[in-house]
Symmetry: C2
Subunit: 328 residues, 2 copies
C-alpha cells in the first residue's frame, strides 16, 4: 500500500477520481466526433454504436485524466461501464488504465470479481501474470499485463479461496487488493448488516477476516496490501471498522452524489489523517454538466476543454473539502 499512501501524502490529497463514463455523462459533440470519424455521420447520436462510444469514452477519460493528474493521486475506472459496450468497451477500459498510469496515477480497477480455484486465478491476472497455482508459468500470454491496474476490488462472498489468488498476484507485482466489506447502497443491509450468533454484524466479521488476510502484508506505512471498501454513507460503522481494522487501508465510496460528506469520510481515517482514500465519480467527471459555459454549439475540443476545466475545479474543491475535514 506504500505507493498509494506516498502519492496521497505527496499531494496532500486522499481522493480518487472514479472514471465511470456513460453516454449521458459525455458531451454530445464528443460522441458526434467519434461517429463522424467512423463514417457514421448520418446516424443520430442516440444510435451510437459500441465502437463510437468506446472512442468517445477514451477521449473523455483523457480529458479528465489530463486535468487531474497533477493534483489527485489515483483514479478508479469502473469496468462495468465499459463492459456495457461489449468486448469492444474493454479495450477502452484497458486503454484508460494504461493512459492513467502513463500520467503517473495509481489505477484502482473497480472490477468486484470473485470466484474460486483456477477461476479466481484467472481473474487475478488482472494484476499481472506470472506464476500460477502450480508455481509454473504456462504461457507468456499469462505473463502479460493486459489491464494496467495497480489494484482491484474483490467480492468476499466465496471466502479466502476467492481472495488468495489476488493477494498472491498482488505480492508478486507489488500491487493491492480491496475487498468489499461495507458498501454504500441501501440494500447492502439485507446481507452485510445481519447480526451473527456470535454477536457482531456480518460486515464486522468480514472486516475481521480482511484484517487477518492482510496480516503478512503490512508495510512501512503500517497498512497492508489487503485493503477494504467501506462506504461513506455509514460513518459510525466506518469509524468502528477503522478501530477494528488498524492495518487495513479503506477505499471510501459514497462521497458527494451518494450523500456522504467529508466529515462522514473523515471517520474512516486514522489519527494521522491517513488510512483511507475517498472516491468521487459523477461529482468530478460530470461537473461540466453544471457549468453555465456549456452550449450545444461548442466544438468537440471546446467541450472536452470544458470537461477538463470543470473536473479540475471539482477535484480541487473535493481535495480542499477533505483537507479541511482531516488536517485541521
Amino acid at each position: 500500500m506504500h505507493r498509494l499512501i506516498c502519492a496521497i501524502n505527496d499531494m496532500r490529497n486522499p481522493s480518487i477520481v472514479g472514471l465511470d463514463p456513460t453516454q449521458q455523462l459525455i458531451p454530445r459533440q464528443v460522441v458526434r466526433t467519434a461517429m463522424d470519424r467512423a463514417g457514421h455521420g448520418s446516424v443520430p447520436e442516440s444510435a451510437a454504436c459500441a465502437t463510437d462510444l468506446s472512442e468517445a469514452f477514451l477521449a473523455f477519460n483523457h480529458a479528465v485524466i489530463d486535468a487531474v493528474a497533477d493534483i489527485v493521486p489515483a483514479v478508479k475506472p469502473q469496468i462495468a461501464m465499459y463492459e456495457a459496450l461489449g468486448p469492444e468497451g474493454l479495450f477502452a477500459y484497458a486503454a484508460t488504465c494504461a493512459y492513467a498510469r502513463s500520467r503517473g496515477l495509481y489505477v484502482l480497477g473497480d472490477i468486484k470479481r470473485g470466484d474460486i480455484g483456477s477461476t479466481a486465478s484467472a481473474y487475478a491476472r488482472h494484476l499481472g501474470g506470472g506464476e500460477t497455482d502450480g508455481g509454473k508459468d504456462d504461457a507468456s500470454a499469462s505473463a502479460c499485463d493486459f489491464w494496467h491496474e495497480d489494484a482491484v476490488t474483490v467480492n468476499p462472498y466465496l471466502g479466502f479461496d476467492g481472495v488468495r489468488p489476488f493477494v498472491e498476484a498482488a505480492r508478486r507485482h507489488d500491487k493491492d487488493v480491496f475487498i468489499l466489506v461495507r458498501t454504500s447502497n441501501p440494500s447492502s443491509s439485507q446481507i452485510q448488516e445481519l447480526a451473527l450468533a456470535r454477536g457482531e454484524a456480518l460486515y464486522e466479521h468480514v472486516g475481521d477476516l480482511v484484517e487477518q488476510w492482510g496480516v503478512d502484508d503490512v508495510d512501512d506505512s503500517g497498512y497492508s496490501r489487503v485493503a477494504a471498501v467501506v462506504g461513506a454513507t455509514h460513518p459510525d460503522q466506518g469509524a468502528a471498522l477503522r478501530r477494528r481494522m488498524p492495518h487495513t487501508f479503506f477505499l471510501v465510496p459514497g462521497y458527494g452524489a451518494q450523500g456522504g460528506t467529508a466529515r462522514d469520510a473523515a471517520a474512516m481515517f486514522d489519527d494521522h489523517g491517513s488510512g483511507a482514500i475517498v472516491n468521487s465519480s459523477r461529482g468530478i467527471i460530470g461537473a461540466w454538466r453544471r457549468s453555465p459555459d456549456y452550449r450545444s454549439g461548442l466544438s468537440s475540443p471546446e467541450a472536452l476543454s470544458l470537461v477538463s476545466r470543470e473536473a479540475r475545479a471539482a477535484a480541487i474543491a473535493m481535495r480542499d473539502d477533505l483537507r479541511n475535514a482531516l488536517y485541521q
Copy 2:
C-alpha cells in the same frame, strides 16, 4: 426458466457443460495452428500470445459444442478464463456464447458480477440492452446484445440493489439470473455458513432472499427466473435448501472434478426429478487428456476430433449417471 426446463426435459438430461478453457486443457497442436496462422511459427507454444490463445479457445470450444449440442441442453462459459487473456479474450467469450446459441444451446454466462445502482445496470446489459433505470433507452449500443447469454450468475453480497437490474433485464428479454447461495469451495464456510442471531446460517438466509426475489417471476414450470447456485459438495445443505426454496431452480457445480457425485446432486432436485441442472467442466472438456488415443503426432484437426469424441463420451456418461440417480 421454462426454456431451460423444456430443453432439459426434451433431452432427459439435466446437465450443463462448463466451457472453461485454459492453455493446458487444449491440445498443443491447436495452439500451434493458431500461432502458425498468425505468423508466430517460430515462437514456442509456451509463449503463445492472447490472440493466438483466443483463436485456440474458440476452435476448441467449437469442437466441444459440436460434440454435445444434440445431447446436452446448455453450456456455461466461465468468463474469467477469457478475461485472463485481456480484452482480446472477451471477443472469444462472446463468440463462444454466440456459437453455442446458434447450435440451439442455452447459454449460462458464469460472470459472478455484482455492483450497485447505475453500475449494476451496466453489468445487467449482459442480458441485453433496452430500457435503463429511467425507463429511457439512451443509445442503440445499449440495446445491442453483445454477449449472447441466456442467463448469468450474480453475487448477492450487495443485496437486492445489485440484483434488481439483472432481474429487470431478464424479464425484458425472457432470460434468467442465477444468484450465488452456497458455493462448492472449502472456504465458502468462512462467510456462507456463519450462524445468524436469528438461528439460520447465512446461506439459508440468502436462499430465503433469492426465493423471495423470484416470487413474481414463477412460470408454468413452477420455477422462477431468479435461480440459485448451490454446490454439489454440500448435499445435506442442498437437500434442505431444495425444501426451503420450492420455486427456485438450482445450478449445481462441484460434480466430478470437485468430488460431488450424481447421488449428491440428486438431493438438489425435486420429487419429479426437475428443479436443477448439474455442471461439469474439466470432466468433459478435458476428457481427451485421459484418452489412450492421444499422441503428440496428431494434426490439429485430428486432435480436435479426439476432443469432440471424448467430450461426447464423457457428456453421455454424465447424462446416464444423472439419469440413473434421478429417474429410477
